[in-house]
């Protein structure tokens, strides 16, 4: 048995550069099943580049990415089948209805109409969005659009969910709702989550942290171990120390 398949995501010695400008340097981490890992970093830290590499929008010669033990570079189709993504920008088709958007996604994952219909109802129900299934996405508010995107990302039952700053531009109750819901999915579905953010208050005490700054990992581990490593009282102070010290 491949021990790497125990991890939903493994990133080994990953580096990436835009021309000569290094964006990521020697990134190493892994996420176990049911684990919620918060990728914390200021703007421009390299979070979106890392997401583009994990989703295979970009490809790097240096390093390896394995999703559920399958090497992304060697078998992108099998790897991506285990991945659900919520991008920073809304990627829903504004002029189509919620149902049409979800059916489109289901078809890309090879789900039959019947399978898709069952899964769509299940996921929309969980997100409290079933009543709005026939509405055009354009008519939904930001929070509801995000919920539809999370439902869409989970339709094909991935083992890993990536969220790239999904709460940007949302009001406090919508933000809190999404943070709590995604955390509950880790427990209920044994789902692994990689959540990129620069907002400290989205972190739960049991989360794993990955602090990214200037393209390199500055610290990783549990909330308490990262705080302990920086002799800080809370994560906010630890984050400040980790990112400001290196900038100066």
């Amino acid at each position: 048995m491949n021990p790497l398949s125990d991890f939903s995501l493994t990133v080994k010695a990953l580096s990436y550069a835009y021309g000569k400008k290094a964006a990521l340097t020697d990134i190493n981490f892994s996420i176990a099943a049911g684990e919620c890992t918060i990728l914390l970093g200021p703007n421009g830290a390299g979070k979106s580049t890392l997401f583009s590499l994990i989703t295979h929008l970009y490809d790097s010669r240096d390093g390896e990415i394995l999703i559920k033990g399958v090497e992304l570079k060697k078998d992108p189709c099998r790897s991506l089948a285990n991945l659900g993504v919520v991008f920073q920008q809304t990627t829903l088709d504004m002029d189509l209805s919620v149902l049409q958007n979800l059916h489109y996604h289901a078809s890309l994952h090879g789900m039959t109409r019947k399978q898709a219909s069952i899964r769509i109802v299940e996921e929309l129900e969980r997100q409290g969005m079933l009543a709005r299934k026939d509405e055009k996405v354009r008519q939904l508010n930001g929070g509801h659009r995000r919920r539809v995107e999370i439902a869409r990302a989970l339709l094909h039952k991935p083992s890993l969910l990536l969220l790239d700053e999904p709460t940007v531009g949302l009001d406090v109750p919508s933000r809190q709702g999404i943070v709590d819901h995604v955390h509950s999915l880790c427990e209920s579905d044994n789902l692994s989550v990689l959540w990129a953010t620069h907002l400290i208050d989205e972190i739960h005490p049991n989360d794993k942290l990955l602090v990214l700054h200037q393209g390199a990992i500055q610290a990783q581990g549990s909330v308490s171990s990262v705080c302990g490593g920086e002799s800080a009282d809370d994560i906010s102070r630890a984050f400040k120390q980790l990112t400001q010290a290196k900038s100066s």
Binding site: Y18, G19, K21, S48, T49, F51, S52, T55, H56, L57, Y58, D59, S60, R61, P76, C77, R78, S79, L80, A81, L83, V85, F87, Q89, T90, T91, L92, D93, D95, L96, Q100, H103, Y104, H105, A106, S107, L108, H109, G110, M111, T112
Partner: protein, 269 residues
């Protein structure tokens, strides 16, 4: 890639393109009005000044409107190819292209699916145009409407692949207008869509050469012959070769490790 998965995905991609197309009624009307204006106004005006000799596939003297009809079908497909590529640049800027590209299917297949969806829409437009033209007395033999179908597929794929190739090289939507001017208009005017090659040769040898090597000319000739139930082998091979070359460059352009999306640098968009 499993065949059933591929079939479901392809159906999904085409369906989405159709949904979008049906929602954008202005796009449908514009796609139809453009060639009809050329037919009713431009061709009618030029009828008296341009005489068309008997050239294959026509077996008799024809009116200019009859000659230009095949070129206008090509025009519909040319504009549709560019429109699809414009929507790909838009999708990329808006992010919905990402949804497609992170699907568990080979990238070439996803791009091909998108291309087929666009071609399907252009074929619908072409037949609606032909229906209107029928009432304007531009009537091809019945068989021609059937033999035109495979020609429309190949010409649509070739012009769509050209659009896709362009979209992979264009980073921002704003840059698109320039490309439209530098690609669509020269391609259309330097082709056999509006005047036959021998007529162009009479006025300029250079233009004649440009028009004969223009893949759009060959696509138009393929359509013209097919509309009259004939097969133009040279035009077919030329269009097919152009499609393969354009598609190969487009797939390369969208390749995550080699293509222009990375080469252009900057952060992920």
């Amino acid at each position: 890639m499993k065949l059933a998965h591929a079939a479901i995905a392809l159906k999904g991609i085409i369906k989405r393109e159709l949904w979008r197309f049906l929602l954008q009624r202005e796009r449908f009307v514009a796609a139809l009005v453009r060639p009809l204006v050329w037919l009713f106004v431009f061709a009618a005006g030029f009828r008296s000044t341009l005489g068309i000799a008997i050239i294959p596939p026509y077996e008799t003297y024809i009116l200019y409107e009859v000659y230009i009809a095949a070129g206008l079908i090509g025009m519909i497909q040319l504009f549709n190819g560019m429109q699809s590529s414009l929507s790909m640049v838009y999708d990329r800027e808006m992010g919905s292209m990402k949804t497609l590209l992170v699907s568990p299917l080979p990238r070439w297949f996803l791009l091909m699916g998108k291309l087929m969806a666009g071609t399907f829409v252009s074929i619908l437009q072409a037949y609606v145009f032909l229906l209107v033209a029928w009432f304007y007395d531009i009537q091809a033999p019945w068989l021609g409407y059937v033999t035109l179908f495979p020609a429309l597929i190949l010409a649509g794929l070739m012009l769509g692949a050209l659009g896709m190739l362009l979209s992979s090289f264009i980073k921002q939507l704003e840059n698109f207008a320039g490309v439209m001017n530098f690609v669509i208009f020269p391609m259309f005017f330097m082709s056999t869509a509006l005047y036959p090659l021998w007529k162009i040769k009479e006025s300029s040898e250079l233009l004649y050469n440009l028009a004969s090597y223009n893949p759009f000319s060959q696509a138009v000739e393929l359509l013209r012959f097919a509309l009259y139930g004939q097969f133009n082998l040279y035009a077919f091979l030329y269009t097919l070769a152009a499609f393969i070359v354009f598609m190969a460059i487009a797939v390369w352009g969208y390749n995550p490790s080699k293509g222009m999306m990375v080469r252009k640098g900057g952060g992920p968009s």
